[in-house]
């Protein structure tokens, strides 16, 4: 324990504090804390309607007010953040895993495989990812998992490109040659020797990916094809709230601010990590 504190103080005295990192950790920490607390306790049932207190403003009883059906907005934001985070994590995981596999193989082997797969990736890249996701949603149907799959596929191309270029960079390094000379099989070289070396580039891209996923999910839900009511994600709630923008601004603002904070948190973390690397 003493060592832990020593480390913190040494960090403070020797290094300049990385503001982005601190701000990012705090904001993201708050959001995640809210989601975790939401798993065990919510001030109100997010689906319980109460017609006697519709569209109330901010009060002690309802710290973000209530919506047009009298549901507590804060409880709904807690729940909605959970859905949104789940979709973002699922999307990015899918994009990273599939993208890494495609990128690693094309980058390592090159040749015909590279040409064919990368042209397919290029074709996917040609569409804006939100449009691509729309196409897939119309194929798979609506719902939380369908949205994860659709957005996941839409996110594959960018990760595949990043991993491919990193693998190309590492492929001819001396330490890879020497691993090859130790008789290490290709698959092990790719996934055990090369992929860990891509982490410096991948971690910031993953964080930016989170942002894009949150935004894309909000966009899809806004169009009404995300997760379905009564359990809504933040984007869906935002689109519901916009009709009451002028009568009850607290409703739309509190949801909007939550999305903004979520994105800001990840963006700061990504920026902070990048700064740490650049020194």
């Amino acid at each position: 324990m003493k060592k832990f504190f020593d480390n913190i103080f040494r960090y403070k005295s020797n290094k300049k504090i990385n503001g982005y990192m601190v701000a990012g950790s705090i904001i993201t920490g708050l959001i995640i804390l809210m989601v975790i607390v939401g798993l065990f306790y919510m001030p109100y049932d997010p689906t319980k309607m109460d017609s006697s207190c519709k569209l109330q403003g901010i009060s002690l009883k309802h710290i973000m007010g209530t919506d047009n059906m009298g549901r507590d907005v804060f409880s709904r934001v807690m729940y909605g953040s959970r859905v949104t985070l789940l979709i973002a994590i699922g999307t990015v995981t899918m994009g990273v895993v599939i993208g890494s596999i495609i990128g690693a193989f094309t980058g390592y082997y090159g040749g015909m495989l590279d040409e064919v797969l990368m042209r397919i990736i290029d074709a996917l890249f040609a569409f804006p990812s939100i449009l691509l996701a729309l196409v897939f949603v119309s194929l798979f149907g609506t719902g939380t998992y369908q949205v994860i799959i659709s957005l996941g596929i839409a996110f594959v191309p960018s990760f595949a490109r990043i991993v491919r270029s990193e693998v190309l960079r590492c492929r001819n390094m001396d330490y890879i040659e020497s691993a090859r000379l130790q008789g290490v099989p290709d698959l092990r070289i790719i996934f055990v020797h090369i992929i860990p070396n891509t982490k410096d580039t991948m971690i910031p891209s993953i964080l930016i990916g989170f942002n894009n996923a949150v935004l894309a999910e909000a966009g899809l839900s806004y169009l009404g094809i995300g997760s379905q009511p009564p359990y809504a994600s933040l984007g869906k709630m935002l689109s519901d709230a916009q009709s009451y923008m002028f009568t009850t601004p607290s409703y739309v603002l509190s949801i909007g601010m939550t999305i903004v904070l979520m994105i800001l948190g990840f963006a700061f973390l990504g920026e902070g990590l990048g700064k740490d690397k650049r020194g």
């Binding site: 330490y175 020497s178 691993a179 090859r180 000379l181 130790q182 008789g183 290490v184 860990p196 070396n197």
Partner: protein, 265 residues
Amino acid sequence: MADIILDVSDLNIEFHDHDKPETVVFDFDLTLEKGEIVGIVGESGSGKSMSALAIAGLLKRHALTKTGRIMFDGHDLLTCDRDTLRSYQGDEIAIIFQEPMTSLNPVKKIGWQVEECLRIHHKDMSKQERKEKAVNMLDSVGIHEPEKVYNMYPHELSGGMRQRVMIAAAMIADPQILIADEPTTALDVTVQEQIVELLRKLNREKQTSIIFISHDLSLVSRLCQRVLVMNKGYVVETGKTEDVFKRPREEYTKRLIAAIPKIDI
């Protein structure tokens, strides 16, 4: 005559990168006996590293053709299938590269990298045995506090230390042949001496045959029993180290020897 473990004959290496094929190694012959240290000397671009890489089997994937034979353990390494080649790589034929700064994977711990060969070729070893062997190996290549270094990352070590780690990683599976491709070029003179001494010690203790590639003639003359002089892809002179250096027959060898810097103050 002792056992011949490696027999390279008529090795030609030809590149096809450009329109016209370009031959970089002509009629390379080499026999290696058990426990012998053979030096290959020559200026940059004379084909010495190319020949060594061909023996180690690294040139398989590149755009080039090779003719000749590299006989090892009853197999021709030039024509055998990939799995056979791979089963020898690391286990029986190991290589150390010139550049210790880039030859270790920056994101993996030293111990992990030293053990890698065992993980590939000796799958039956337990984690504990592997670690024990790796620590012993690190100790025997002259690293102080091997337990500590075992858990370090490459950037925490100096160039000389890294080259020792490379040697430990190459030697851990007790290979029969160690190819050292200019292992001391990137190091300063005192560390060079230590590395050479270490190679000599390993050669003596484990009876490993070493192919030592260098353009440093004085190192070669002290370490190797036999020497091959290469120029422009040809082996111009070969023989016992003493004979070659004391009574060079070829004009090129004479010039190489004359080029050894001497301190005259």
